[in-house]
Structure formats: structure tokens, C-alpha cells
């Protein structure tokens, strides 16, 4: 797929991938073997009829393609961009064995973009109104899926969001150059057109208790996602210039810090930035830092390149843009200047030992290998705990020792009657599509329950 050239894109916030032209898409779709037993579908957490939509593209019926996608996935424009297809559908594609699986994600993205350029989009049929009221708490991918599914089934849906803009991580976390805000806005507006009521600036648990919300609605879905960023617990972590990935990305994305000084939320333009971690979030931070003018952005990861959890595509993009990588490196101490600003990071080198519980080889610190890096910013991207507000303010709700809400695996019911939960708040940090998959299952169970009411 065409991309902005690396030397240009590393200085702007526009989307990196430029997307397929219709000709490209038809040609790529033409490669699909339309397998009798399509393994790709098994790899898709929401079971999209993949050969079906690809066939439609090959036959140049783009309207049909998007219709097929939307039967199973209410956010194709988002998933086509950020799903890890290489470990889901594309890895299962029969052509993978030949080294060139069908670019399923890119085709999905193409169909969604095609739809967005049409003058009018086809509105789905909404079932007769049931008169049942549903509250969805959190407007990330999990909440969006539940809202989208239940509104189509005729229920009355109100979505509550704590921040001033909806979308969850899609809005405050994933950067503009990977997922433009306009794409998310479009999806939310679509939901609103379907009749979903959106209430921003409302923190359930604080503004109103979950209990009270439950008095007003027949069923409630909690999709409050991630919270409380983890830090490394090493000396110097509260120095200025040390950020959680969430803070750094929120300043830039949600608060539009990249337009500063046109906007008022400041983002310090650091020169040398270390990013600790190896996932997509770490890549996003390092690439953002370069775009904000950093001379150097280094990913500091304690395992090796092989264990890097980020998507291959994002690793590649980061590498092309000039992000540096310091593998097998563990930060141990942060040093600041007399005004409390970060100056240096002391690290140790690591080596890989036996595989641990996760199957990955455990990194072991090499004694005496300490060295220092001169850095004026350190972004900690090593994950986070679930959002604490609803568990904190709802003592009856059972949570695990990690703070995730406990649910029934199939129905996503919580321990409180009429309350369901799903997404990162249940699974811990995961992916957009898994959050959507959870939302889908919860919505099914909620609909069953709502239909049983008279």
C-alpha cells in the first residue's frame, strides 16, 4: 500500500498510509482464491465474511463490500487501520504459505474509505422500538460496539463518556498519523444518526453512582477501559520530562498539543527522547516525539527484537522514520538537573534466559553492564491497570486482584444483576478488535435479557 515517504512523514501528523486506489484494491482482491473453507474467517475475532467482501471488491461492487463488513464489524475504517491482521486473519490466509497473504486489512480500509466518500451512506433498518433503556459507560470500541448492536435491535441507548470527546483510546491514545481523528468522529456521528444518545463530561461513579444509573436503565454495559499507567518503580520517575505514554499521547492527541501554540495544552519539545517498552504504544510515542521535532527517539526494550510485541508494520514504520532501538536494555535510575528535569538514564544490559510463563525468554540483568544515556525525556509505555473509578465506587462489583472486572466468560455478565462489562476493563490492555468482540457478546446477552422482559 502506498505510504507517505519516510523523510516527509516523520515531520507531519498526517496519516502515514495513503490507502489503495480502486484499481489497486480490485487487483489485490482479484488474488483471493475464494476458498471453500476460508481459514481467514477463523482468524477474525468478529468472524467477518472475508471472502465475501473481497469478492464484492473484485467485482467492483463496493457498496456490497461495505455492507458485508458492517454486518459483523461496526468500525471497519478503524479496524482496517489498527487491527493486527498479520496475527489474526492474514496469518491464516492460505496464501500466507506462499509468503503473500491477501492484504485483508487494507481492503477493509479501502471499502470503509470508499463509503465515507459517498454523498449518502445507506442507513440500516432499525428494529421496532422495544422501549427498553440501556446505558453504555465508556465510548471506546467496546462501548461503541454495544451501542451500535443494541440500537439496531430497537433499544434506547445512552452512552456516557468521562472525557470531553468520545472514542476512548481511539481518540486520546492512537495518534493521528495512524488513525485520523476524523475517522473516529465519523463513526461516532453514525451512531448518533442511528439514535444513540451521547453524554460526554459525565463520570459514572462520580457524577452519578452506577447504582443510580441502574435505577434509570434496564441494563448497563461497563466499557471503561484502561487507567492508572504503570511506572517502573525506579528512582527519579517523578522528574520533569518523565511521562506515562497516556499522558504524552493525550496531550498530543486529545488536547491537540501538536498544534501548540495554536492550542493551549503545552507539549514540551524535547530533543532526546527515550521510550520504555516495546508495544504499539511505545512505537506511537517514539514516532510522535520525532514529529514534534526530537532529534533522537530511542525505544528501550528489555528483551530482544524477536520478542517485540508491537505489530510488525508499526515496527517497520518506526524504523523507517528513524526511531532507534536499544534492545536488551533495562532502565534502572533516572538522574535530573537541579531544577528537577531529567538529564540522564542509567541502564543495564540484559541477556535472555529460560522461557517464562508467557513462553518468552526471561531477560536477566548482566551485572556490571551499567551505562548512561543522555536524555531529556523518558516516556514510560509499559502498560496500565484497568480504570479504577467504577470498581472504587461500586463495592458490590467483583474485581480480580489486577483490578479487572470479573465477568462470565460467555455472557460478559458481572456479579451485579443487569450489569455487563467488556473490553480492556475486563481483559486488561488488549486490542480494539478484542474489545469489540467482547462488546458483541455482551450485547447479545443483553439483548436476550431485554427481550425476556415484558
Amino acid at each position: 500500500m502506498p505510504k507517505q515517504a519516510d523523510f516527509i512523514r516523520k515531520r507531519n501528523f498526517k496519516e502515514v498510509a495513503l490507502g489503495y486506489s480502486a484499481e489497486d484494491a480490485i487487483e489485490e482482491a482479484g488474488r483471493c482464491l475464494d476458498c471453500k473453507k476460508p481459514f481467514c474467517v477463523d482468524g477474525c475475532p468478529v468472524e467477518i465474511d472475508i471472502p465475501g467482501f473481497i469478492r464484492a471488491i473484485a467485482e467492483e461492487d463496493f457498496a456490497l463490500a461495505i455492507k458485508i463488513l458492517k454486518e459483523k464489524n461496526c468500525l471497519p475504517a478503524v479496524c482496517g487501520r489498527v487491527c493486527p491482521q498479520e496475527e489474526q486473519c492474514e496469518i491464516k490466509c492460505i496464501l500466507e504459505k506462499k509468503g503473500a497473504p491477501i492484504a485483508i486489512g487494507r481492503l477493509e480500509r479501502f471499502a470503509a474509505e470508499w463509503e465515507s466518500q459517498q454523498d449518502s451512506i445507506e442507513m440500516p433498518v432499525i428494529d421496532d422500538k422495544t422501549g427498553k433503556k440501556v446505558a453504555v459507560i465508556g465510548s471506546g470500541p467496546a462501548g461503541i460496539t454495544v451501542a451500535g448492536d443494541l440500537i439496531l435491535q430497537g433499544h434506547d441507548v445512552t452512552m456516557y463518556e468521562a472525557l470531553h470527546e468520545p472514542g476512548g483510546v481511539l481518540t486520546y491514545g492512537i495518534p493521528e498519523f495512524r488513525l485520523p481523528a476524523s475517522v473516529v468522529t465519523r463513526e461516532i456521528e453514525y451512531l448518533q444518526k442511528l439514535g444513540v444518545k451521547l453524554i460526554c463530561n459525565f463520570v459514572v461513579g462520580k457524577t452519578r453512582s452506577l447504582k443510580k444509573i441502574l435505577d434509570e436503565y434496564d441494563a448497563v454495559f461497563v466499557g471503561t477501559g484502561a487507567g492508572l499507567p504503570w511506572f517502573m518503580n525506579i528512582p527519579g520517575e517523578n522528574l520533569n520530562g518523565v511521562y506515562s505514554a497516556n499522558e504524552y499521547l493525550t496531550r498530543v492527541n486529545l488536547m491537540r498539543g501538536f498544534q501548540y501554540p495554536k492550542t493551549y495544552t503545552p507539549v514540551v519539545r524535547h530533543k532526546k527522547v527515550a521510550v520504555v517498552g516495546g508495544g504499539n504504544v511505545a512505537m506511537d510515542c517514539a514516532r510522535t516525539a520525532l514529529r514534534l521535532g526530537a532529534e533522537e527517539a530511542v525505544i528501550v526494550y528489555r528483551r530482544s527484537e524477536t520478542e517485540l510485541p508491537a505489530r510488525e508494520e508499526e515496527y517497520e514504520n518506526a524504523d523507517e522514520e528513524g526511531v532507534k532501538f536499544s534492545f536488551l536494555t533495562l532502565p534502572e535510575k533516572l538522574y535530573g538537573d537541579k531544577n528537577g528535569w531529567l538529564k540522564e538514564i542509567e541502564c543495564s544490559k540484559m541477556e535472555l534466559g529460560e522461557p517464562d510463563a508467557s513462553g518468552r525468554r526471561r531477560p536477566i540483568r548482566i551485572d556490571g553492564s551499567e551505562f548512561r544515556m543522555k536524555m531529556d525525556a523518558c516516556i514510560v509505555a509499559i502498560g496500565n491497570s484497568p480504570n479504577p473509578i467504577i470498581p472504587q465506587t461500586t463495592p458490590e462489583l467483583a474485581v480480580s486482584k489486577w483490578g479487572t472486572i470479573e465477568v462470565d466468560e460467555e455472557s460478559f455478565k458481572t456479579t451485579i444483576d443487569r450489569v455487563w462489562a467488556g473490553g480492556d476493563i475486563v481483559s486488561g490492555a488488549a486490542t480494539v478488535i478484542l474489545a469489540m468482540g467482547a462488546g458483541r457478546k455482551a450485547a447479545r446477552s443483553m439483548h436476550e435479557y431485554l427481550s425476556s422482559l415484558t
Partner: protein, 276 residues
């Protein structure tokens, strides 16, 4: 949208803002705060509640004009609407029958201490309220606070009203009067909170302060509000904002407060406390 009912300057650099936010005031408790955001391009600003009226659905806030975003707030007029007033956030301050409670307010804290004073009095405490400011013209709400206080002590640094001195003077007065507080609560800028924690520590009772850290989301998601209390990392927006000042790492807090000063071209303000 949240409608502005009133906005006026009460003393130099401090403004009173009354906004219609019925959902927020329905459950608000003393010590909690809201985050205000004036729309695309503004910052999200945490501000502690200074008063509320549940029947009218209105919330009062006293804020200091320090930067571009608070500058925008200072220009609001009755009838204007702002897109975001979210809350109440944070853990309410502990209100019990403690006995003798000294409440110290300075700067915007003269406003935010009011709900605390009122709630303590209603719980049956003996409340001694101290109003602190550089000069007489910076003190406000004396009458309002007096209504719920058993004793009011005014402290001005230039001696233009009440006693001459900073909060330390207040602790000396207590000693002279033979009063031993069961709890001290201080609201105001970081300097005042720090001084109160230092100068009242010898009473050997909790000195509860409200930390004014930088915040973004206010829901425990970003970690910018982190501070060290009793050697542990705390997030002021969800664990606080009230903590025992005797256990706070003040040096770190002050450094973190100043993170964006060079970026945000801070306006110099004249209430004389150092401005953070």
C-alpha cells in the same frame, strides 16, 4: 453545555465563577473538584468547589488567573456557555467530629475551604478559621466563613489587617491561646500548603492539604498528577487531592508544578504567594 450564571473579580487576580451544573452538584462533597474545559484548543483545568446550591443546580468556584486558559475563564460573562464542567472528581475530604479543627485558607483556598468549614461546623466541631493573604485587599468571604466558624483569625503579611505574618503566626497565636487543634486543614497555593504542613507539624495531628497538581483527565488515566506521599506514588486525581501534608514530598511537587512554566508563558500575578 454549562451556563455561566455569574463571573466577577472578587479581589485582584481572583475570580468567582458560578456555573449551572446540576449533575455535578447533586453528589458533590467538600474537598472535591471539577475539571473545566472551554473547548477545542483550551486546557483542562482542575478547580476545587467553593460552594454549591443543589436546588438551583449551581456550582461556585474561585479561581486565580494565571495562564492563557484561566485568562479565557476570566473573560466569561453571565449567559455564556462552556462545553465541559466534569465532576465531582477526587475523594471527598474526611469530615468527622474531630474536636477542634483549624482551617487555613489563602488565595483561591479562601473559597475552597468554605465547604469544608461549613461541613465541619455542621458535624459539631469547634472550627477556627484563618484567613491568610499578603494584604487586606486580598482577603474575601470573611463574613461567609465567620458564619460557620467559632473563631476567625486574619493574617496579613503586611499587617494591614488582623495579625501581621504568614501561617506560622497563626500557629504561634494558637499556642499563646493554649489551643491544641485535633486536626489542621489548609487550602491554597502550594506555598501555603507547604508552610502549613511545616509550621503546624509540631501539634502532632494530621495537617490535611489539597494538592494542586497539574491534571489532564482527572480519572486516573494519564498519571500527570502523580506525587509522592509517605514514600509511595499517588495519583492526586483519584487518590486525593487531599493528603496529610506532613507526608508529602514537597520538593518534588513544587518542581512538577513548574513543568510547563516556561512553555505556558505564565502571567505574573500579584497575590504574592509565588504563583503556583
Amino acid at each position: 453545555m454549562f451556563k455561566i450564571i455569574e463571573r466577577k473579580s472578587i479581589v485582584p487576580n481572583l475570580h468567582l465563577l458560578v456555573v449551572h451544573a446540576p449533575d455535578v452538584v447533586e453528589t458533590i462533597q467538600p474537598g472535591q473538584f471539577v475539571i473545566i474545559h472551554c473547548g477545542e484548543g483550551s486546557e483542562r483545568i482542575p478547580l476545587t468547589a467553593a460552594d454549591w446550591d443543589r436546588e438551583e443546580g449551581t456550582l461556585s468556584i474561585v479561581f486565580m488567573e494565571v495562564g492563557t486558559s484561566t485568562g479565557k475563564l476570566a473573560m466569561l460573562q453571565p449567559g455564556d456557555e462552556i462545553p465541559t464542567v466534569v465532576g465531582p472528581l477526587g475523594v471527598p475530604i474526611e469530615i468527622e467530629k474531630f474536636g477542634v479543627v483549624v482551617c487555613i485558607g489563602g488565595c483561591f483556598g479562601l473559597g475552597s475551604i468554605f465547604p469544608v468549614v461549613r461541613a465541619l461546623k455542621e458535624k459539631g466541631n469547634e472550627v477556627i478559621t484563618m484567613l491568610e493573604g499578603r494584604s487586606k485587599n486580598l482577603l474575601y468571604w470573611e463574613e461567609k466563613l465567620s458564619k460557620y466558624s467559632d473563631k476567625v483569625i486574619k493574617l496579613t503579611r503586611d499587617g494591614s489587617y488582623g495579625y501581621k505574618g504568614h501561617v506560622k503566626k497563626g500557629s504561634e497565636l494558637l499556642r499563646e491561646l493554649g489551643i491544641k487543634p485535633d486536626r489542621v486543614i489548609a487550602n491554597g497555593c502550594t506555598t501555603l500548603s507547604y508552610l502549613a504542613s511545616r509550621d503546624y507539624a509540631h501539634f502532632d495531628v494530621p495537617v490535611i492539604v489539597t494538592l494542586n497538581t497539574i491534571m489532564i483527565d482527572g480519572t486516573g488515566m494519564c498519571g500527570v498528577c502523580r506525587c509522592t506521599v509517605d514514600g509511595k506514588m499517588k495519583f492526586a486525581c483519584v487518590d486525593g487531592p487531599s493528603f496529610d501534608g506532613r507526608l508529602v514530598d514537597w520538593e518534588e511537587l513544587a518542581a512538577r508544578r513548574k513543568q510547563y512554566i516556561s512553555e505556558e508563558a505564565f502571567l505574573v500575578h500579584h497575590s504574592g504567594c509565588g504563583g503556583f
